[in-house]
Symmetry: C2
Subunit: 456 residues, 2 copies
């Protein structure tokens, strides 16, 4: 329905796309670029305007062309693996000498296996259907007007994220597949790596005849560049923060650009009176220990005071290395059979992302719901029960992106829910809620076709 | 799928809903309440928290109950028409003595006929399907998990608008029908009228057993109240500004709460070389003169230099009282046959909302697209053409909420596009784009049901 360009069509650019040398300095020493705030604003706006131009071409590239670009990026990443790893080694070395924690260093580090993972993700993206052009709804009106509402790309997508260079490739791939241009602001601690990756991405786009400016970075402008990006309403169509709580809150509080808030998951499981012991043990072990560092892992367990499964669940979790932060009633019920530490309000609020679990006793479903309403981040909550009315009440009362009955909270995931790829997990209610796939990086357009109809 | 309450179910409130006397002073003298900013913040947060409580009840009320509330509001508006008109007369009198323009006074004024219109709109709303509970998509996964993504209410909807008291009833009705609670901030110039209307709305809700706090106002806290509302992220789920450009920009620039930007329409029609004269005349007359004060009326006409229809279109528009603001080429082409005034860049940027039309000549479809990209607000653009390739190219190249081929721009309207009711016309890309119906006041929730599934 849109005039799709093909790989053989000429790419018409209103302005010549410049090479990326000027835009991505080889050694971006963030914060040291001697520009005034006004100069940074002008430079970032210029990047956004080039992104808008590039977005027009990306939006009209057909699926075959976009998939060719994704595969070209994958090939280039492997071909230039050594230079990527060399750039990454500089960042890791800087981080180590700055006293960066082992966990953050691990997230910062690229390895051949991790680059293989990025390439595999790009190949997976290339295999997914194109969200652009999908007809959302349509009808012919009594007056003969033909209506269609179709998915079209957002246009200019921006991302602000922490020092995880894999996000650079990941978010760029998702944005390109959905027909957008992307402006990246990675963590300064990954500056060398991101600069190398952005160069590779841009070169690969050009190699298949798509505009290099579909991928740009504002890393060279440091924090001020990020500030301009957050206020560039009209120039940036959507801004996605990816990272920890502090980063996301900073972006939310300082943006006039539309933001999709992602990720924070203070996830609860409520074991109702009627839940079976086997199911409770299996699901808690899976939800807590399969991959504790991600957002859909359980952080608080609520146990009905009449449930008999607590000892078995506690023993299983403790045996798996989980530290149990328990309230006094749970401590009393376990009567020393399992090692625990005392919990306070900080525990109910904490997303541990580690082998830690807060555990509280409640006397009713309503009490469980009240606890969840008070402490939840609206990501995922689950009930384990054999009581139909309680399951239905939990589904109705819980106001979270995903509500799960008798299954692991680890299923709140774009791949598991059949979306194919995941942009992130939205914990806000506008536009997208829960796992976001490629379609969530599109908007819609109404197309109305007639032969002279006027309104009566 | 959710446990729907029925009109006969008891409404369980965690806190008693107070009467509205304390909340809506009979004579809200805005800005004169002697509260510190901290006190205003605490008071508005308390209102938002009561709104959250009320939203939980509204979200579980079934359609029959919500429709009963809408009809009760309609009955009460007619029964208490005299007191509404008396309150409105005070506002109109104040406005007149303050030198308010005739156009604004007209928007401020309620009449028995206008109240009838509000009642009819509520009756129409009651006749519409309930968006809540609609299944967006769903499937059973290979592991047996049953997935459903359903529409659920946003929760707490806020609206900031200008002195048009009909918006008070209109937006409250839309929010209630979609299962939300609403917090209103009307223009201070309509303070007496809005206070009277809010009291009636709250009493009507209570009369059918729904929480009065589902409708609240922060008018008594003046501008500071609006500021707190705009920053109440987490307490307010979505904020809808309704009004002119200045109000919308103020809300967009000062909100950390998710905002849906509505309304501004600098609408274009491009007459291509192949458009027929009859169609061009009919559509331009309809799009400009049928209701010039609304956002889907055409504001700029672009005419292909090889088109022959310009004289007929210009004569017809001028005869209908339209002032034509033309560029020099149009002036030359008309060679004095029709009265015109010269146009400059301000005209290309202006949403006249009156019997004024900017007219420019272009040499190609690409030039028309370039003009539109430069000046459009992304609301609606139309092409009149008999050339299929040009129609398809226009559809693909124009990045607006609605793209129309050979029909009037006045069709960009929730009623005309079959949405039943209209919350506003979104000119942003996130969440909703174009006319917004009741579904756009909902979000979604994933419901995952299993029997012990864990992730492998």
């Amino acid at each position: 329905m849109t005039e799709a360009l093909t790989p053989d069509s000429p790419v018409k650019t209103d302005a010549p796309t410049s090479g990326n040398a000027a835009q991505v300095p080889e050694t971006p020493e963030l914060g040291t670029v001697p520009l005034t705030p006004e100069q940074v604003e002008a430079a970032v706006h210029s990047i956004a305007d080039r992104s808008r131009q590039a977005a027009r071409h990306m939006g009209q590239a057909n699926r075959a062309w976009k998939d060719r670009a994704l595969r070209a990026i994958g090939v280039a990443l492997k071909e230039q693996q050594e230079s990527i790893l060399a750039a990454n080694a500089k960042d890791v070395e800087s981080g180590r000498s700055n006293g960066t924690s082992a966990a953050l260093l691990d997230r910062l580090t690229l390895t051949p296996a991790r680059i293989d993972g990025l390439v595999a993700a790009l190949e997976n993206l290339a295999g997914l259907p194109d969200p652009v052009g999908n007809v959302v709804r349509g009808q012919t009106l009594p007056n003969g007007l033909r209506l269609r509402q179709i998915n079209v790309p957002m246009g200019v997508v921006a991302a602000i994220y922490e020092a995880r260079p894999n996000v650079t490739v990941d978010i760029a791939g998702l944005a390109l597949k959905s027909g957008n241009a992307v402006i990246l602001r990675g963590g300064s601690a990954a500056g060398h790596t991101n600069a190398a990756l952005v160069t590779i991405l841009r070169d690969a786009l050009e190699s298949v005849g798509l505009p290099a400016d579909a991928v740009q970075t504002v890393d060279q402008f440091g924090r001020e560049g990020a500030n301009v990006l957050m206020r560039a309403r009209g120039r940036v169509d959507v801004l996605i923060p990816r990272g920890g709580r502090e980063l996301i809150q900073t972006v939310v509080n300082n943006s006039s650009v539309p933001v999709i808030e992602t990720g924070e998951g203070n996830v609860h499981i409520f074991i109702d009176e009627s839940a079976s012991e086997d199911m409770a043990v299996d699901i808690l072990l899976n939800a807590k220990t399969q991959r504790p560092s991600v957002c859909n892992t359980v952080e608080t367990l609520l146990v009905h005071s009449k449930s008999t499964v607590l000892p078995a669940v506690a023993v299983a979790l403790r045996s798996a290395g989980v530290t149990l932060h328990v309230d006094s009633r749970i401590q009393g019920a376990l009567s020393g059979a399992v090692d625990t530490v005392p919990a306070d309000d900080l525990d109910w609020a904490t997303e541990y992302m580690d082998l830690d679990l807060a555990v509280a006793m409640v006397d009713s479903l309503d009490d469980a719901v009240a606890h969840i309403r008070k402490w939840s981040t609206g990501h995922t909550e689950a009930i384990l029960t054999n009581n139909l009315a309680n399951a239905e009440k939990f589904i109705a009362d819980i106001d979270s992106a995903a509500v799960i009955v008798n299954a692991s909270t680890r299923f709140t995931d774009g791949g598991e829910l059949g979306l194919g790829a995941e942009v992130g997990i939205s914990t806000q209610k506008l536009h997208a809620r829960g796992p976001m796939g490629l379609t969530e990086l599109t908007t819609t357009k109404w197309i109305v076709q007639g032969e002279g109809q006027i309104r009566g």
